[in-house]
Symmetry: C2
Subunit: 192 residues, 2 copies
């Protein structure tokens, strides 16, 4: 028997993504908020959710514009990501302070982060108040990937992207691969 300790209810799902959400117009009021309360919620149409506190500076910008971009975080971005999760866009121009470049999204005037390896353009479909956080349910409208992540066959090789992940207050790199989806039922290919 495994001995277990019971904790009070909490946000113990781990690890979770850590993403830099950009919002605001690329040439007027571009902003970045880093968050970990994010997840994929539907395959087709491709949808994801992000959750934000109402008090956050980005909340009204996203609510009013209806657009945001999820920018994945690699090793080079982790310090800027942490900083954008702690500081407020009310006090700082976060792009200027971090040296990151706001570029225009394809489907709107929303900004995205040029230096991020993967930019996921999202359109808000619904905002659901839950408590401390409101959940923004959004549809993915377009995805941009750094060309250096595409291999010779045209396939995206995301293992090259050096993505970060968040677990119980700690940022981690991805560690070694332990399998691919379906590995437990694959037949062994004996080489001739």
């Amino acid at each position: 028997m495994v001995e277990k300790v019971t904790f009070k209810p909490g946000t113990m799902l781990n690890p979770v993504p850590v993403v830099m959400v950009s919002c605001g117009k690329y040439d007027i009021n571009p902003n970045i908020i880093t968050l970990a309360w994010a997840g994929t919620v539907c395959s087709d149409p491709p949808m994801l959710s992000i959750s934000l506190r109402k008090q956050r500076f980005s909340y009204d910008i996203i609510k009013e514009s209806g657009f945001f971009v999820v920018n994945l975080v690699d090793g080079n971005l982790i310090r800027a990501a942490d900083w954008c999760g702690v500081k407020s866009g009310r006090d700082f121009n976060k792009f200027q302070q971090t040296g990151l470049t706001p570029i225009k999204a394809a489907g709107s005037d929303c900004c995205m982060i040029e230096q991020s390896p993967v930019n996921i353009e999202c359109e808000v479909k619904q905002i659901i108040p839950l408590g401390t956080h409101d959940m923004f349910l959004a549809e993915v409208k377009s995805v941009h990937v750094n060309a250096c992540l595409i291999d010779k066959t045209g396939r995206l090789d995301l293992t090259k992207a050096d993505l970060s992940v968040y677990s119980h207050g700690v940022y981690h790199k991805l560690g070694h691969e332990t399998g691919t989806f379906g590995f437990s039922v694959k037949k062994i290919n004996l080489k001739k």
Copy 2:
């Protein structure tokens, strides 16, 4: 300028959690479904979402009972996790086939996986149809953690749990730590 390639819209948020969701009564019809469309959505009350296809065997069990448990996946569980994501509870008793043990949750008759390092008991609050998947919004009611993850000060040390994460079809271990939340604004503590 970073050269970017535009992809069609897709579920490109990575990495994401990989969790074994247990459902059904621990002593009657315990079942496991592995999924990656999961995320924390609110801090207080603590809430998370999981997304399921209507066709999945677990869908009706969770809908009718109103309870499920999110079981985190460590290195020892990754093969069973993959298998439970590929196979259906219509065809197999997944606990028997994987050798895992269904134990009773604290707040319901729902099963949880004894061998998982962290069990998160959830109660369904709302089911939102989105397309291929329905999103189950749920409140965390209780959390159970293996006693070996608690350090001498009574603090949970989740880095000991050897958790798995999923990125673009590949399971990974967590890699090395690159910082803790807020590290970018911490003052350096000079030792005297």
